[in-house]
């Protein structure tokens, strides 16, 4: 007698789910959404400060995965890196579009969301085990100038020339600080994971 086995999608790796998406398997898409939808939505909320806009962005990101998942190759980097790159690009496009619209109306209601170093409190011991807390702590430990450059580029959507103008730094310094900040983040988190192992 034949037996019917229900596939456990939660147990599948990202790339296995992606292969199924290539075969138009919507349950695979639902599983990827369960896995990463919350983080994509949180990123869009953090940048746009608008839940309605963040919802549209999240929908676009997962529809991009649905349409373009079959074109992903490992040469494009880790799958999550590729997907969050799509999410960030889409969100920043929306942010810049809104900024252009607002500048036409000569208003900038976004200013009051600027993050100052004092706004981010030291990581709480109770949540220090979470990935979120670890990454936030690593960001807190960046030198102030590097943190500012990352904040203005990644979360505020400014280009490197705009950052140089806004902060009064030479363009070359901005480029160096961007690179150093990213490398230090990676080093800090690798060291922490190594220490826990």
């Amino acid at each position: 007698m034949d037996e019917v086995y229900r596939l456990n999608y939660q147990g599948l790796e990202d790339l296995e789910l992606l292969a199924k998406i290539g075969d138009q398997d919507r349950e695979a898409l639902a599983t990827l959404y369960e896995r990463y939808g919350r983080r994509v939505f949180a990123l869009a909320v953090r940048i746009l400060n608008d839940h309605v806009g963040a919802e549209e962005v999240t929908q676009d990101v997962f529809m991009s995965v649905w349409r373009r998942g079959a074109t992903y190759t490992k040469k494009k980097g880790k799958f999550t890196t590729w997907m969050f790159s799509i999410a960030h690009n889409r969100t920043i496009d929306e942010l810049r579009k809104r900024r252009r619209d607002r500048s036409r109306e000569n208003e900038d209601i976004d200013d009051h969301w600027d993050i100052k170093s004092g706004d981010i409190s030291p990581p709480d011991a109770a949540v220090a085990q979470s990935e979120y807390a670890k990454i936030r702590a690593a960001m807190e430990n960046l030198p102030e100038e590097q943190k500012t450059v990352v904040e203005l580029s990644y979360f505020k959507g400014l280009t490197q020339t705009e950052i140089a103008t806004k902060t009064g730094q030479p363009l070359g310094t901005v480029k160096t600080r961007m690179r150093l900040a990213l490398k230090k983040l990676r080093t800090a988190l690798s060291a922490e994971m190594g220490a826990q192992a």
Binding site: G37, R39, V52, E55, G77, Q160, I163, K183
Partner: protein, 338 residues
């Protein structure tokens, strides 16, 4: 563990070809030309590709540093519905049905046979003219062939008539089948819609429960002041709608706040609920938000100033992406801040 050879801005020695890789990873390049130049570089230089992949993975870490916020419950259902619509098979021209193709084939064979017989008969007549001593025999043959042709023509007419009748009969049967199929499809679609609605409602209930648990978790573990409903820095929001209630929790240290609401009706089409901070100069719009199927929503945000400098918080309905300088829509929730 510390890195004894830590890179600093002073000893940084970056390959000038790689100077735009970090900005590419952060989506901060100034022009399409710069982007194309980076993409050409990584296409031809494996070291550059490896460097970019490393920087991009760090950029992904930044994405994870955003405060966790739960998406609305209906978002997953919307995405799956869109995916289903995109994967539906496209319309194609159907081939002629089998009976039509069979009919066409039989007609063609019969017609060809008739033409062959006529040609054959004509050929005999021509030979009869040419061969006078065999004319009677050939005329007789020609008459016989003419009879065959006539019989074939009759048979062809009968076949054609039968086919027309069969086509009419099959069309009638197909019309009945189409009606039955249409009714069945409508039932299936209705059932699928009901299942989808139940799934959305279930998701909304689960989301509300998760939001409540998440708020409690943050209150207990992230030093939010949530000792009681009426604690000095925790605001219970009164509602003009009898079924609605809300809560604003502010962290002891820093400026992180969480706003939670239950029981709000769905806003008017084209409008969204908007949270405002009032009483410190101009009103400050915090965020527009949607509510779940059961009227719940949770927003995490950063207070521009400490809460005590504001006199009240209010929730109004404003046009989507059309927030003015002051609240202008219907006020549904409000609370004093002290």
């Amino acid at each position: 563990m510390t890195d004894s050879r830590e890179i600093t801005e002073d000893n940084e020695n970056m390959d000038p070809r790689f100077e735009n890789l970090a900005a590419y990873a952060l989506n901060s390049l100034d022009s399409d030309d710069e982007r194309k130049a980076v993409e050409a570089l990584i296409e031809s230089d494996n070291a550059a590709l490896a460097e970019l992949n490393e920087l991009s993975e760090s950029a992904e870490l930044l994405a994870t540093s955003a405060p966790p916020v739960a998406p609305p419950a209906h978002l997953k259902a919307n995405i799956l519905k869109l995916a289903a619509e995109e994967s539906a098979p496209s319309l194609v021209l159907l081939k002629a049905p089998w009976w039509q193709r069979a009919f066409q084939s039989r007609y063609a064979v019969s017609a060809a046979a008739a033409i062959l017989v006529i040609v054959f008969g004509a050929s005999l007549g021509f030979q009869n003219n040419q061969l006078g001593n065999e004319i009677d025999t050939l005329r007789s043959d020609l008459q016989a062939e003419s009879i065959v042709v006539t019989n074939l023509q009759n048979e062809l007419a009968t076949t054609l008539s039968d086919s027309v009748n069969r086509v009419a009969s099959m069309k009638s049967e197909m019309a009945v089948m189409e009606d039955e199929f249409g009714a069945t499809t409508e039932m299936v679609v209705h059932q699928e819609e009901m299942v989808s609605e139940l799934a959305v409602a279930n998701d909304a209930l689960q989301q509300a429960l998760r939001d409540q648990i998440w708020l409690n978790y943050m209150a207990m573990n992230e030093e939010y002041q949530l000792k009681s409903w009426l604690a000095s820095n925790t605001q219970q929001v009164s509602a003009t709608e009898p079924a609605a209630s809300g809560l604003l929790a502010v962290r002891f240290v820093g400026n992180e706040a969480v706003f939670q609401v239950h029981g709000l009706a769905q806003p008017k089409p084209g409008f969204a609920y908007t949270l405002w901070l009032m009483g410190n100069g101009d009103p400050r719009p915090v965020s527009q938000f949607e509510v779940s199927e059961i009227g719940s929503a949770t927003i995490a945000f950063l207070l521009p100033e400490p809460l005590h400098v504001y006199s009240s918080v209010v929730v109004t309905q404003e046009r989507v992406n059309g927030i003015g300088n002051d609240p202008s829509g219907t006020m549904v929730l409000s609370a004093e801040t002290n």
